[in-house]
């Protein structure tokens, strides 16, 4: 199955004290139809900017400085603006973290969903309305006809997020970028939304790039996991592989700090230190100051990819050393 979306060496920079700092530093991934790739990382890792870069929605003063974003083989970064607008909401759709503020407060939600259709397809208003209602039913909004004409403030957080999903999927896009879709919701609602996304992924065969910091969410939905730290991927692989055999010290730390993996009564494990800001990135591996297994080369040289198993890669000197040692 060929990839629907391929990102190669994406680099997005922001200005800081006169220089331009790569908040997204050489990110590469691909997703196939019907697949879910989860990009996991703490806040500040650059994962949201990655998604925004795909659609070229990076807020100023940010700028995409390198790489390619291939949709069906065509590089979106070279497309002109009208072409980009055709892609947005039609081929690639995006949903955001805060349903509260992400919907226009003075326009009825149904009309906002209809807008997504009317922007990209030449259909009548009535047809657009029908499509919208159909999606409302599909995403499980109770009493969809009444809710269609409601204003955003009249809906709960969970319902608003369902509206966002409906709005994103009403045009049957091939790719859905979901930026922390459940973070702002209650745990019970989270589960429902995730379940919904799983169903829709199955039925519509949408490729999903799920951005999150919550490993629980990842566990529910992902086929492939990419762990991101300070603008770079540190580990990537199939879900089972990464969750059961984490190789990079950061991944290991993340998993170890999950409450479910800690013994009751004992203090929670936590990775020491804090995520360094761009002004404090060392020339080599950006995790080295917080890493218990760091060796001298970690500080100076950027670690290259180390193939652990087919499809499972880690970027770490320690892992590389271990590999070479094991192979000998």
């Amino acid at each position: 199955m060929s990839a629907v979306l391929e990102v190669k060496d994406l680099r997005t920079t922001f200005p800081l004290a006169g220089r331009r700092v790569p908040i997204v530093d050489g990110i590469s991934f691909s997703v196939d139809a019907g697949q879910v790739l989860a990009i996991v990382g703490e806040s500040g890792s650059g994962k949201s900017i990655t998604a925004l870069s795909v659609l070229r929605l990076v807020p100023k003063p940010g700028r995409i400085d390198g790489g390619r974003v291939l949709l069906d083989g065509k590089n979106l970064l070279e497309a002109n603006i009208p072409a980009m607008r055709r892609v947005r909401g039609h081929d690639i759709a995006m949903i955001f973290q805060e349903p509260m503020t992400s919907l226009n407060p003075v326009v009825r939600v149904g009309a906002q969903v209809m807008e997504a259709v009317l922007l990209h397809e030449r259909v009548s208003k009535a047809a657009a309305r029908d499509r919208g209602l159909e999606l409302f039913r599909r995403v499980g909004i109770p009493d969809p006809v009444a809710r269609f004409d409601a204003y955003p403030h009249q809906l709960s957080g969970g319902l608003k997020q369902r509206v966002m999903i409906a709005m994103a999927l009403v045009t049957r896009p091939r790719v859905l970028l979901a930026d922390e879709p459940t973070t702002a919701l209650d745990v019970t609602i989270q589960a429902q939304i995730l379940e919904l996304m799983r169903e829709l992924q199955r039925d519509f065969r949408t490729a999903i790039v799920l951005i999150t910091h919550d490993l629980g969410v990842v566990n529910e939905l992902a086929d492939e996991i990419a762990v991101m730290y300070a603008g770079r991927f540190v580990e990537r692989g199939a879900r089972e592989a990464v969750l059961s055999q984490p190789s990079h010290p950061y991944t290991q730390g993340l998993l170890a700090s999950m409450p479910s993996r800690n013994e009751p009564g004992k203090p929670l494990y936590e990775i020491r230190g804090v995520v360094p800001g761009p002004d404090r990135w060392p020339p080599g591996c950006r995790f080295c100051d917080r890493c218990d297994e760091a060796i001298d080369v970690c500080r100076d040289t950027v670690p290259g990819p180390v193939q652990l198993e087919p499809g499972h890669v880690a970027w770490c000197h320690v892992v590389e050393r271990a590999r070479r040692g094991g192979a000998q």
Binding site: L55, L57, K60, R85, R86, V87, R88, G89, H90, A93, M94, F96, E98, T101, S102, L103, N104, P105, V106, V107, E115, A116, L119, H120, Y151, H153, M164, M167
Partner: protein
């Protein structure tokens, strides 16, 4: 909705009563009837003349309610008359005030309504344009020009307008007013133009800020992600949300439509309520002044209530609790 309107109206009524009290204190306590009399007939007048004048104008009663004078005092008199629009006669020339107000309303509106409408349309259009090009040179130039415009006193605009366009270029009459339909616009063109240009600077600055703030909100990002073009975003998404703060600004101007642009009327010889006020100042005509302030306060309160009600039309989040 009804309960809300009733509540708003009652609060408004309370405010009007408060305004009247304030006016009373201002016109009768801070500046006493004796002062008014002296200002009207001269400092050197004999005490008897002053007394007579006060009696003639109804200022001879005691000021505050007290035993034996619960209803026959200036305070109650003031309230009664103002609330029944019994404004009496001008201190200066004795003409009935209410008549003059009624006659002056027409010319004032003829001036301020076009000024308001044209100013709003031009202001919004320019700000939308500048906001669309935010952070570019067009934006920076636009903002600078707006600040420039804000820094010039209205007086200078009027003088410049009159002098350059009236006297030097002779395009328009320098002043005057003729209600005849075909001729009216010639007398109004200059004052309306001056009024619009004078407020354009601060309006554009304000509206632009509102628009730019809206553009940075999350729902605009969602619209872009759906494939909305920048133009559509401005007109369909931002404008609707920006209306809320813009509306406050706009509706509050309504009382001025009546009280008339004081200076513009006076400078351009338009016999509206503004001229009436200016004449009252020059003649120390307190009773007219008092009535004018009261009328505008009343209009203000009405305008505030209208604003609140109009919010519900523009912002669905505001449900009349």
């Amino acid at each position: 909705m009804l309960a809300y309107v009733v509540r708003r109206l009652s609060y408004g009524a309370l405010v009007v009563l408060g305004v009247l009290f304030f006016l009373f204190v201002l016109f009768f306590a801070v500046s006493t009837p004796d002062d008014i009399a002296r200002r009207a007939i001269g400092d050197k007048a004999m005490p008897e003349v002053i007394e007579q004048w006060k009696i003639n104008h109804g200022y001879d009663k005691p000021k505050w309610p007290g035993p034996g004078q619960w209803s026959d005092n200036l305070l109650v008199e003031h309230y009664r008359r103002m609330l029944t629009f019994d404004f009496g006669r001008s201190d200066a020339d004795g003409t009935p005030i209410l008549d003059r107000i009624a006659k002056g309303a027409g010319p004032s509106l003829a001036l301020t309504l076009p000024m308001f409408a044209i100013g709003l349309v031009i202001g919004l259009t320019l700000s939308l344009f500048v906001a669309f090009f935010r952070e570019t040179y067009i934006d920076k130039a636009g903002v600078f020009l707006a600040v420039l415009g804000m820094s010039v006193s209205v007086l200078l605009y009027i003088i410049a307008g009159q002098f350059l366009l009236g006297k030097v270029l002779k395009w328009f009459p320098v002043s005057g007013f003729d209600p005849a339909p075909g001729v009216l616009w010639r007398f109004l063109a200059l004052p309306v133009a001056v009024g619009v240009i004078a407020s354009l600077g601060s309006d554009v600055r304000f509206y632009r800020t509102v628009f730019v703030e809206e553009i940075h909100k999350d729902y605009v990002r969602t619209a872009r992600a759906k494939g909305c073009g920048e133009g559509r975003i401005m007109s369909r998404h931002v404008l609707g949300n920006a209306m809320i703060p813009v509306l406050t600004n706009v509706v509050m101007v309504i009382p001025f439509l009546f009280t008339g642009a004081l200076l513009t009327e006076a400078f351009f010889g338009i016999p509206g309520l503004g001229s009436l006020t200016v004449d009252a100042i020059n003649a120390n005509d307190f009773s007219t002044l008092r009535s004018m302030v009261y009328i505008s306060a009343l209009l203000f309160v009405v305008a505030q209530i209208l604003t609140d009600i109009s919010y519900t039309l523009v912002d669905p989040r505001v449900r009349l609790e």
